[in-house]
């Protein structure tokens, strides 16, 4: 998989050694270099790969992409892709011995940024066939266009990003489908970020609405101070109607309930960890939803892990950034990522692995962070992050533990694998884990997308598409034996509940019940 993982090193190497004078200017050149040691996130890292902190698109160096390799080294070319420029992309073609070189040598070596991904696309359209949005939306040109094709188009300075990029829901199914490992979702995130940054009217209703939706944590943190009032407010007649008319947030959905006690409040009240073990530690990334809305998931995680003898740490944290990526709010996402990386890397330093109960959160920490940002320690966080059930399956004999267990009251579940679980190879884990538990029937309701995709299904203009995508899942759920749904993703859960009226559980809650934690 082509990822932006090594820019940090590359830029240092390039700046230190063979970068021509004046090749970098502006932010790139003047930024403080990262130094080894304890990271001070937000201060000592490289500038964002995508959107620099001041919001300006940096001027590119001379050696930005392969095609320009033969140009005179003084030719200044502005970045056209939001600043994604390789630090080592150029090669000095003048050094080639005309009598003895392989034709490929005329192209620069080193990191070609997303070009390599674009070049790997051989137009098989597997991504388009797996795209849940293209399946219901005539207007959406599909992941192939949004990714490699648009990437090429925007090499030209005068080419705007197509507005349809905002119709991509960031389900990332195209990544999983691509036989050629084209970094499609990375390309989409980048294009969306650039679209929002440079083409979207900041005073538009859509921008404000998207900013609010993607900064759910901010509003949830306020609402959870007065959960009963907040819950009541969303039920005031006309409140959701007003939300739709004023902001374009669909009035079809019920606003999620805020818990009267957040997970963190509960954690504090119970006095933190009840198991201490310096050799068996996990840092819990609970995400916004299990903190503010479904603390029972977080509690189940803690109890299950303590049952297996783990010391649980709950580091300070902000939003994982998933809704922000999906709305092109990369600057917001970066701010949150800085805090998360800083506190998670500290926990990792104390011997912990990072655990998330939301599959979009784990996806974000594992894949999108290192793809999109260059923050000191971000690779480390990525490499130490796991989904909660996944981690137990790798490190504990869960099968042995569950063999012969029995659920007190027999229950059938209709399980839906979230897209972001699918992309981490986790789509089958709940079905497999509970297969041998007596009294539990776990039915996989198929591989269709639930359609809500985080904030996507909350947008007035996307609501119907979202329900159309989800239709197959609703049907399969109703055909399933069980009338309780199960999924790892909080917004998939919302959609499942909305489409079928079923109660939805998280696998950790069932695990808590089964192991008697």
């Amino acid at each position: 998989m082509t990822r932006h993982t090594d820019d940090h090193d590359d830029s240092e190497g390039a700046n230190g050694a063979n970068e021509p004078d004046g090749a970098t200017d502006g932010d790139d050149g003047s930024e403080t270099r990262a130094s080894p040691g304890v990271p001070k996130a937000g201060r000592d890292e490289q500038p964002s790969i995508f959107v620099p902190d001041d919001g300006e698109v940096p001027e590119a160096g001379t050696d930005s992409d392969g095609a320009a390799a033969g140009d005179a080294p003084t030719a200044e070319r502005p970045a056209t892709d939001g600043g994604v420029e390789s630090a080592t992309g150029g090669s000095d073609s003048a050094e080639l011995d005309p009598d003895a070189y392989d034709p490929v040598d005329v192209f620069p070596g080193g990191d070609l940024d997303l070009r390599e991904g674009a070049d790997s696309c051989y137009k098989c359209t597997s991504c388009d066939t797996s795209c849940p949005v293209a399946e219901v939306d005539d207007e959406f040109p599909g992941p192939k266009f949004q990714g490699p094709e648009q990437w090429r188009l925007k090499r030209k300075d005068d080419h705007d990003i197509d507005e349809s990029i905002t119709s991509c829901s960031n389900c990332m199914r195209c990544d999983d489908a691509c036989p050629s490992s084209v970094p499609l979702s990375q390309m989409h995130n980048e294009a969306r970020g650039q679209f929002v940054e440079s083409q979207m009217e900041k005073l538009s209703r859509e921008y404000i609405r998207n900013r609010i939706l993607s900064n759910y944590r901010f509003f949830a943190s306020i609402a959870s101070k007065v959960p009963r009032l907040a819950n009541a407010a969303t039920k005031v007649p006309g409140a959701m109607w007003a939300g739709e008319k004023l902001l374009g947030v669909t009035s079809e959905r019920d606003f999620p309930e805020f818990a009267t006690e957040t997970f963190r409040e509960w954690w504090k009240a119970r006095g933190g960890a009840q198991v201490e073990d310096p050799d068996k530690r996990v840092a819990y990334f609970h995400g916004c939803y299990s903190n503010y809305n479904t603390p029972e998931v977080g509690k189940a995680m803690v109890r299950v892990y303590e049952h297996f003898g783990y010391e649980v740490m709950v580091p300070p944290q902000k939003c994982s950034g998933t809704p922000m990526f999906a709305n092109g709010m990369l600057k917001d996402a970066r701010r949150h990522a800085e805090t998360n990386v800083e506190s998670l890397i500290e926990a990792i330093g104390e011997g912990a692995d990072v655990i998330a109960s939301c599959t979009s959160c784990s996806m974000s920490l594992r894949q999108e962070y290192p793809e999109l940002f260059d923050i000191h320690g971000i690779e480390d966080v990525s490499e130490h992050t796991y989904e909660a059930l996944e981690y137990l399956r790798i490190n504990e004999d869960l099968e042995g533990e569950l063999a012969g267990t029995k659920l007190a009251d027999e229950q059938s579940f209709a399980y839906h694998a979230p897209c972001h679980a699918r992309n981490q190879g986790l789509s089958r884990q709940a079905v497999e884990t509970f297969r041998d538990v007596d009294g539990v029937t776990m039915e996989d309701v198929g591989d269709s997308c639930s359609g809500i995709s985080g904030t996507y299904g909350w947008k007035e203009e996307k609501y119907e598409k979202s329900m159309k995508i989800g239709e197959e899942m609703f049907e399969h759920m109703e055909d399933a034996e069980g009338d309780v749904g199960m999924t790892e993703c909080p917004t998939c859960a919302m959609q499942m509940e909305h489409g079928t009226g079923y109660e939805i559980e998280h696998p950790l809650q069932l695990l808590e019940e089964t192991v008697g934690a």
Binding site: D102, V104, C124, T125, S126, D128, T129, S130, C131, A134, E135, V136, D137, D138, E139, P141, G142, D176, A177, C178, P179, S180, S181, M363, R366, Q367, P370, E379, S382, E383, H384, T385, Y386, E390, R393, I394, N395, E396, D397, L398, E399, R422, N423, Q424, G425, L426, S427, R428, Q429, V431, E432, D444, D447, E471, E472
Partner: protein, 459 residues
């Protein structure tokens, strides 16, 4: 270590599924790990066993020298392949000795097809006979194939009922009139006409086949008319387009569409169209990725589930852990940055060929990236291919060379790992594109590799 199984299958296509189910039926506890969504969705959905025995002699060269690129061939001396074969089994002994069919034996192909018939159930046809069926393909040729989707049944080329081939201007890759012309030129025993109709035009210019299928599945309204009715209405005026040899007009008895007639509810879509048109309806597989391939993928993964095989998709196998005695102990799966060992007693490698990325190549050579198995190849890369584009390309046969139990061999002909077995496209020796044998090779080698791996693991 929690991620252990008796047999671990690496790959997600037809060979991997066949191996996993075969191993499971021998009593092994099986896990399947696939990096990407299954390559089945790239496939036509047709199951070929052996359609041709291609000539391995190159066209006569106009000058002396080894059979490499840059040598001019005599275009008048083009060697013809043998076929289309009526019976795939009778052609096997005329294949080169290094061909996988020759190595694992014709019975493996027979049993592999029988297993497929059982898994595919009523969704597939052709299992009643050893003989190949002739089906029209995307592009207008006729292809010998061993098994075909029920949705394609009414399109058999051996059927002599007059046919209409429907196309849509907006589906640029599919020209119905040219298609019909090529079918006629191919000498099919029926009268055929092609017609471009307006239906897909209601969608965007480059609509995905999945979008069209979904619209038909749900019978969505298109400009106020339900999709199935709208499609039938568009086709109806062309039911008398066929002109027979005598110049008489014949009402068609069957209508062929590009394969987008529904996904989950394909049977209902076809039945309703047939009813409205008063003619049988069939699908013609299009280029990849195709709905027949997607439907087959769904069906086979359901079969894996029913068999109790555990599977996961999304993470690649990136390395192996070897034991001192020359066996493989575990493979490393890259779970988004962290390598996790997956242990097993035996492994099946079914990662595909060059296109499926089971083989990797650069200017230095061709490699098998997971176990670093030997891939036989000429040292000079200019000998990897020959000028004759449709000729006997050496690269087409690249792959690992197995013994009769499916274990890859090293340069000295010795088994590389006692507990590693190979199946499908990663196995060399077959030119599946020219032979029309890709699915058959997957079924035969998958069956053998799966069984042998189970034997190795449970002994």
């Amino acid at each position: 270590m929690a991620i252990d199984s008796d047999v671990l299958v690496v790959g997600g296509g037809l060979a991997a599924i066949t191996a996993a189910i075969s191993a499971s039926r021998e009593g092994a506890d099986v896990r399947l790990v696939s990096h990407k969504a299954s390559t089945l969705r790239q496939a036509s959905g047709l199951i070929d066993a052996l359609g041709y025995v291609p000539a391995t002699e190159p066209a006569t060269p106009l000058r002396e020298g080894p059979p490499t690129a840059g040598r001019e061939l005599d275009r008048d001396e083009w060697p013809d392949p043998e076929g289309p074969l009526a019976d795939p089994f009778e052609g096997i002994e005329r294949l080169p000795e290094s061909h996988p069919y020759r190595i694992v034996g014709a019975d493996a192909l027979r049993e592999g097809l029988a297993l497929f018939d059982e898994l595919a159930g009523d969704a597939y046809r052709g299992g009643h006979t050893d003989r190949n069926a002739l089906l029209p393909t995307f592009g207008g040729s006729v292809k010998p194939t061993a098994r075909y989707p029920a949705a394609a049944e009414a399109g058999l080329a051996s059927d002599d009922r007059p046919a209409l081939i429907v196309g849509f201007r907006s589906l640029t890759e599919y020209d119905a009139r040219a298609f019909a012309g090529r079918l006629e030129a191919a000498g099919v025993p029926f009268d055929v006409a092609g017609a471009e109709v307006e239906f897909a035009e209601a969608f965007r210019a480059d609509t995905k086949v999945t979008r069209l299928a979904k619209a038909l599945d749900h019978d969505e309204e298109i400009d106020g008319t339900p999709a199935r009715e709208a499609l039938a209405k568009a086709v109806a005026p062309h039911l008398h387009d066929v002109v027979d040899e005598a110049g008489g007009v014949d009402r068609v008895e069957r209508v062929g569409f590009p394969a987008f007639l529904g996904d989950d509810r394909g049977d209902a879509v076809r039945a309703e169209l047939a009813d409205r048109l008063g003619a049988d309806v069939f699908e013609i597989s299009m280029g990849p990725p195709s709905l027949p391939g997607l439907r087959l993928e769904d069906r086979l993964y359901d079969a894996l589930d029913a068999e109790g095989v555990r599977f996961e998709t999304g993470n690649p196998v990136v390395g192996v852990e070897r034991e001192a005695d020359g066996r493989v102990e575990a493979v490393a799966v890259d779970r988004k940055g962290r390598e996790t060992p997956y242990g097993a007693d035996a492994f099946v490698l079914a990662t595909g060929g060059l296109v499926g990325k089971g083989l990797d190549s650069d200017r230095e050579g061709v490699r098998e990236p997971v176990f670093d198995l030997r891939v036989e190849q000429p040292d000079d890369r200019y000998e990897w291919f020959v000028d004759d584009a449709f000729g006997d390309q050496p690269y087409a046969r690249f792959g690992v060379r197995p013994d009769e139990r499916g274990r890859p061999l090293d340069a000295d002909g010795e088994v590389q790992y006692a507990n590693v077995f190979a199946a499908g496209g990663v196995v060399g020796g077959a030119d599946v594109a020219r032979e029309k044998s890709a699915s058959g090779v997957s079924l035969a080698t998958g069956l053998v590799a799966g069984r042998q791996a189970a034997t190795e693991a449970t002994q």
